[in-house]
């Protein structure tokens, strides 16, 4: 039972993260300064949020390719609107979230109520969002207020804002998992038919998983704009594959029913850290992709091996 809880809690990926971080620190001691750590977390945050969003959909057994389109779209919106100051940043956040939730609602409606396969439907919405992003912002550029650029990538009460946001999302998951909606999400992922029979509204659960995903993608795009202090209509493209790699690294089962948003957050952070480590070790950038690919496969195998041990324990 204890091993199972460890496997489900994302402790595994946390250990991997700390190990890689120790290696990174050993290779590059300057990386341990408060400034570098803050920079590292700022760089990781967008992918962490995107992976957290995708996890909501994957946990219920679905699949969401629209992550790339939604991030591009919201990033373009944030870059086009010109609101200054703290109030402007909050207003922008509201607009960003609204846009993300709208895309999520469309995905959710098409998948949960119109019963179109999730991969296919979200592929279509992804392409549409990319197009709308291009209509809003024709070329990379735009305007991101100084407040967003400096305050959102800085520290609050001595703690980097990025860590605060990531912790809030982890807390959100901690609470959500214990609500009825959270239990329904996992139940639908494990067996949609059984969930339906036991009175869970499967369509509504699926619908809301896409809403959560859309909102978190929007948050990712919002912080990406703050980080890069510019916008791009193709900002989301690199996120498409990395997001799923992060979720897999976190040990969330594709097909649904098992996993955690917190583990995906850590999986994404690990992925970014790994890139930094490979870069600082001086691996020729030609072969970074090769090592990344291999580590991804190894991480999934590792998580599978842990699950195997857990399952055997349970049987005995």
């Amino acid at each position: 039972m204890t091993i199972k809880r460890i496997a489900d809690s994302g402790l595994m990926i946390m250990v991997i993260y700390i190990l890689i971080f120790a290696m990174y620190g050993a290779v590059q001691p300057s990386a341990l300064s408060a400034y570098s750590i803050q920079g590292l977390f700022n760089n990781s945050l967008p992918l962490m949020l995107a992976a957290a969003g995708a996890t909501f959909v994957i946990l219920q057994g679905g699949f969401d390719l629209s992550v790339a389109g939604t991030i591009s779209l919201v990033n373009a919106i944030v870059a086009v609107l010109q609101f200054d100051g703290a109030l402007g940043a909050i207003g922008m956040l509201a607009i960003a979230l609204a846009a993300g939730i709208l895309v999520g609602a469309i995905n959710g409606f098409v998948v949960a109520y119109l019963k179109v396969q999730a991969i296919a439907a979200t592929l279509a919405t992804m392409i549409i969002c990319q197009g709308v992003a291009l209509l809003i912002l024709r070329a990379p550029g735009g305007y991101v207020s100084d407040f967003m650029t400096y305050e959102l990538t800085g520290s609050m009460f001595g703690i980097p804002v990025a860590i605060i946001i990531a912790t809030l999302v982890a807390l959100l998951w901690f609470v959500f998992r214990r609500t009825n909606a959270g239990r329904n999400l996992l139940a639908v992922g494990q067996d949609a038919k059984a969930a339906e029979l036991s009175g869970i509204n499967v369509a509504r659960t699926q619908f809301f998983s896409f809403i959560w995903a859309g909102a978190l993608y929007a948050l990712a795009a919002y912080f990406l704009a703050a980080l890069t202090s510019t916008g791009s209509p193709s900002a989301g493209e690199p996120f498409l594959l990395l997001t799923f790699a992060a979720v897999a690294l976190g040990g969330t089962a594709f097909g649904g029913g098992r996993g955690s948003v917190t583990a995906s957050l850590l999986g994404a952070a690990t992925l970014v850290l790994m890139q930094k480590l490979l870069f600082s070790v001086g691996v020729s950038s030609f072969y970074t992709g090769m090592i990344q690919g291999m580590i991804m496969v190894l991480a999934v195998l590792f998580s599978g091996a842990v699950q195997f041990v857990v399952d055997r324990r349970n049987i005995i």
Binding site: L123, I128, M296
Partner: protein
Amino acid sequence: MNQPYSTADKQDTRQAQRFSSTSIAVLAIYSLVVLMIFGSRLVSPSLGGLSQLMTVLYLSSFLVICAFGQGLVIMVRGLDLSVASMITLGGVLSTTFMQGTNEGLYFIIPGILLISALVGMISGFGITRLSIPPFIMTMAMGLIVYSVCLGFTEGTPRGFPAPILNAFMQSKVFGVALPILLMLILIVIFTTLQSYSAFGRKLNAVGNNPDAANIAGITVKRMTISAYAISAACSALAGVLLAAYANGATLRMGDDYLLPSIAAVVVGGSSILGGRGNFLGTVGGALLLTTLSSMLSALGVGQGWKTVLEGGVILVALLMLREQVFASLQSMFKRSS
């Protein structure tokens, strides 16, 4: 509501249902393609002619070839995200090996296909034997293959395809470009392979229900691995042809084919959950996407609107191809007859 359930007036329509729903889907897609090509004449007189049809067929041949492999993989409940990298691999290998001469072409092309099939087999092995999720495995394989291509070419692929391949891409027989003829031949072979051969039927069974297929004595893992191997080889073949078409390889030559290959399969009426696939539908999907894209480019529509419309067409096609739509269509037919 509480009437006793009677099976007296129900007939076993499973086979018939599947037949008609697939053929309706395929017919719908082809009529849409024809409508679009000839309808575009209304928008601009330079469009909608035979030459545009030929251009569309020519350009879709690359997509049709990758989409066949993608379709097989989707049929066995997987997804191949390494398509783009495999196209690049095919292109890079062909220009490197051929070095602009015709020498040894008869073993270079089979060699490239074999190498890429081997890469696909490794993906399939990871997926079936090590139970790595398909798209993680194929994505990782794509990353690895891409970075090997990048490292091997040091950023700029050198060499040229064989002149005879260049000539092949440019020649015409009776006004029909040779690549179109090649595509037609491949369509016949692929359709036979997917829908009428023992291999295709077994793959279909694996996609429908792997457990049942296993009990029925089908080597499920081997069939799944072969689907990935074929997909990799198809993408590499598309890469060889693309390199011959563009007279050289680039590292990003495959990028424009990954998502369209998936889109062509799903628009063509295959179920992404496996077990339902029809190659003629996929061909229709590829033609539809290529027609739309070339038409919008010809009309000078901006990139933004073009992308929105392409996504919109995929979404509309998906909504039209839903099971419920077929069910209601069928009941309409039944009522009228």
